[in-house]
Symmetry: C2
Subunit: 111 residues, 2 copies
DNA sequence: AGTCACATGCAACCAAAGGTTGCGAAAGGA
DNA sequence: TCCTTTCGCAACCTTTGGTTGCATGTGACT
């Protein structure tokens, strides 16, 4: 089963956009991210804390600013788990579709 | 971009398990679901309201109970959007990996 | 050195959402 | 009829995403 902490980390829309921006720019700061987002720097800082605890980003202080970068291996791992979930649902939907088709088939043969 | 209402509907772990149970059993009631979940019937009822507003389930009153079933088309649509997101992230990770490999390559050629 | 600007961290506060308990009402079975 | 079951509604608690306000530390510019 999927790690719920990982899912909840990437389940928030703002955090997804943050990861996207960090990947696009190759890292960034809380202030820099908040410039490109409709929320305040403090909200961004809290989200970075969540992502950090989930291991999806790492931070290093550099002078007066703190730079965050995405842990690509960890994100790849999270994406794999997401894919597992969607695949499982896909298989279940397919199975249900096959069953209902079989029932329809039988109905037509024995009305 | 993904529909955030759909994502938030399937983003909650309890709602994911509910959808899973409904698919496995071919539908169910709030009380029946709460028997198989670690939350109360009222919590389940609220979640069913969210899923209903997102169009992922439909309900029909039947005697003293109300039966819920999954809208398979709608769920399939949601799964497709999830897949789109994971694919987009996958592509971005691949691109970054290629870039960093190219940089490494250049470093080795010109140290 | 001295000051000014800027990025951060911390605290208090607010609103929405997931969860709980409690209660009253409608439908089925003894 | 009476009892059980299932539901729906309301009040309340806790967590979480978001805000404003303030103090601190670091870089930059005269």
């Amino acid at each position: 089963m999927i790690d719920d902490e990982l899912w909840s980390a990437i389940g928030d829309p703002t955090r997804r956009r943050m990861l996207d921006l960090l990947l696009a720019d190759g890292g960034g700061t809380a202030t820099g991210l908040s410039d490109q987002l409709p929320v305040t720097r403090q909200a961004v800082a809290k989200h970075l804390g969540v992502l950090d605890r989930a291991g999806l980003v790492h931070s290093t202080p550099s002078g007066r600013e703190r730079r965050y970068t995405v842990d690509e291996n960890r994100l790849a791992h999270a994406i794999n788990q997401l894919t597992d979930v969607t695949d499982a649902w896909d298989r279940r939907l397919q199975r249900i579709k096959r069953i209902s088709e079989a029932i329809e088939q039988r109905k037509r043969q024995q009305p």
